[in-house]
Amino acid sequence: MSQAGTGTGAHEPSAAAPVFEGAARRELDAVLKKYPTAQAALLPALWIVQERQGWVSPGAMAEVAEVLGLTVAYVKGVVTFYTMYHQHPVGKHFAQVCTTSPCNLCGAEGVVAALLKATGCKRMGETSPDGLWTVVEAECLGACGFATPVLVDDDLIESVTAESVPALVARYR
């Protein structure tokens, strides 16, 4: 589990500013039209929060609960089930490396080590001192033929090797 507060990246939350105003509110309203219940908009609403704030803060969970008519405890229960919602701020760039067997067979461990080294992250799940990177291990990313895939933010980078890591990291500043 990542530790809160080590990063100073671009996604630092602006305390209690509500998310669902203006464009975000309109986006949520459009989502709500596609489902027969407001509850069904929960995963999409959490994605809207994370896209705007970089993580899903306790305050944002409370706001989501409020707009969808759910309890905060319920929302938290859902957030904690899914691995992709960040419950703590993360670095400016978030890298997920697949280390499941098919990728492991193709050298994923070396990619992990190289990524930690090149980003300056001390260990998995921790944010680098410059706040730029958080690196985590992921289970199968559905790209096993392109071992080792690394998902950096929204970009899936195929066939990463320990050797190609430094150039990859240099592309994200």
């Binding site: 994605w47 859902v78 899914y82 067979l105």
Partner: protein, 432 residues
């Protein structure tokens, strides 16, 4: 085709014909490649006729369980008293499987067309396409295709001017393998934790919001337009082997293989030829040790067993394994099978939704026992303990995640017992 490699003459490319062809992603390009003619044809048939055609084709679910698609559709009520739904399973998370990703990113309109045909046949006005959260690029491509389809009246209130309503919505997952299980997926769409539901009731009776629901895998639905266009008999005739496995299948070959990629062959294709002729043989000229032909959830088979195996549902069972998702994981003779099996058990422990005790505890303890072995602290009794755990984990839980973990572990010990015993005897330790 063997994407990312050029098509091999022994492949039969239906679904993968346009992999790598960026023009096919757009509606204009798709139309010039024959797109949406099958939908047009289907809307001119009765719903029953469409279902009969799909039934007659023999196409079986490509998500892993292999249930005949037409039969599944026929379970939907004929008299509609509540909304009907179609869920498209694009959660692809089975280790070793990466075919749906290519279908989504190269041929999104094939999926939309196949899904629209299904929606028409089962009287669903709303389709939810559940795409795993990590599939950022496939989601972008698919959303663009949906927007185009709406703009051209291929979706929406009046599909192709035939007075049929079909809406399609992408529902993005958020990281949970278990949400690929059909009822967990439905809970996830409803805004819940992705816990599988007890069956029965089956989704055709009570699925999304308790309404009749059909769920199919991406690859299953992508095959539908071909069946409608060229006919059930043609599709059935593609099989090289037996009438119970028809059509073509995408195999995602990965691990210790020279040319990893997606290969599309007719059912009944020899496993050996796929591995050696199409996929270039074992990486680095090494020898084959083991294969899991249907993703990490199916039993391991040895090189000898793989040698004579035919790639269809029955052929894989005869070889002691299952066809599963067609995600073929190749292990070479340099593989530390004990370590890899531990890594798979760890996957299942991580992904268990933790509802059922046998799964929550079983996957965790299996992992711990294997890790102890890898630390050089294994005991001979551990092997029996793992068999015993495997038995407790099989057939006793709400879904088969637990069974899958047990199948992989138990088969590995049966087939490669000396590898496990060597760890225990020597006390050799590796980093875990």
């Amino acid at each position: 085709m063997g994407y990312p490699h050029p098509s091999h003459p022994r492949e039969t490319v239906l679904l993968s014909r346009h992999f790598g062809d960026a023009e096919a992603r757009g509606l204009a390009g798709w139309m010039t490649r024959g797109g949406y003619q099958a939908l047009e044809k289907a809307l001119g048939m009765s719903r029953e006729q469409v279902i009969e055609e799909v039934k007659a084709s023999g196409v079986r679910g490509r998500g892993g369980a292999g249930f005949p698609a037409g039969v599944k559709w026929s379970f939907m009520p004929k008299q509609k008293t509540k909304p009907h739904y179609l869920c498209v399973n694009a959660d692809e998370g089975e280790p070793g499987t990466f075919k749906d990703r290519e279908l989504l990113r190269w041929t999104p309109h094939a999926l939309i067309e196949g899904s629209a045909i299904c929606a028409y046949a089962i009287q669903a006005e709303q389709v939810y396409i559940y795409v795993r959260g990590e599939f950022t690029e496939p989601i972008r491509v698919l959303q663009a295709a949906l927007d185009e389809a709406y703009a051209k009246g291929l979706l929406g209130a009046n599909v192709l001017g035939r007075g049929v309503r079909i809406d399609m919505t992408i529902h993005r997952g958020a990281g949970a393998y278990i949400c690929g299980e059909e009822t967990a997926l439905m809970n996830s769409i409803e805004g819940k934790r992705g816990n599988p539901r007890i069956k029965p009731p089956f989704p055709a009776a009570a699925g999304l919001w308790g309404c009749p629901t059909t769920i199919n895998n991406v690859e299953t639905l992508c095959a539908i337009p071909h069946i409608l266009e060229k006919g059930a008999a043609w599709y059935k005739g593609l099989s090289l082997s037996n009438p119970k496995s028809s059509g073509t299948k995408l195999f995602s070959v990965c691990g210790a293989i020279a040319k990893p990629g997606n290969y599309e062959v007719t059912m009944g294709f020899p496993m050996k030829d796929l591995l050696y002729d199409l996929a270039g043989g074992i990486k680095g000229g090494r020898k084959l040790k083991a294969v899991q032909p249907g993703g990490s959830s199916v039993p391991f088979i040895t090189a000898e067993e793989a040698d004579g195996a035919l790639l269809d549902y029955e052929g894989c069972v005869a070889a002691g394994t299952q066809l599963g998702s067609g995600g073929m994981i190749v292990y070479d003779d340099a593989t530390d099978i004990v370590y890899q099996v531990m890594r798979l058990a760890q996957f299942y422990a991580h992904e268990s939704c933790a509802q059922c005790t046998q799964c929550r505890e079983g996957t965790a303890w299996t992992t711990k026992i294997l890790q102890r072995m890898l630390r050089g602290e294994g005991r001979m009794e551990d092997l029996d303990l793992l068999f015993d755990l495997g038995e407790q984990m099989t057939g006793k839980t709400i879904c088969v995640l637990s069974d899958s973990c047990a199948a992989a572990v138990v088969s590995a010990i049966r087939k490669f017992r000396p590898d496990f015993e060597a760890y225990i005897r020597s006390g050799r330790a590796v980093a875990v």
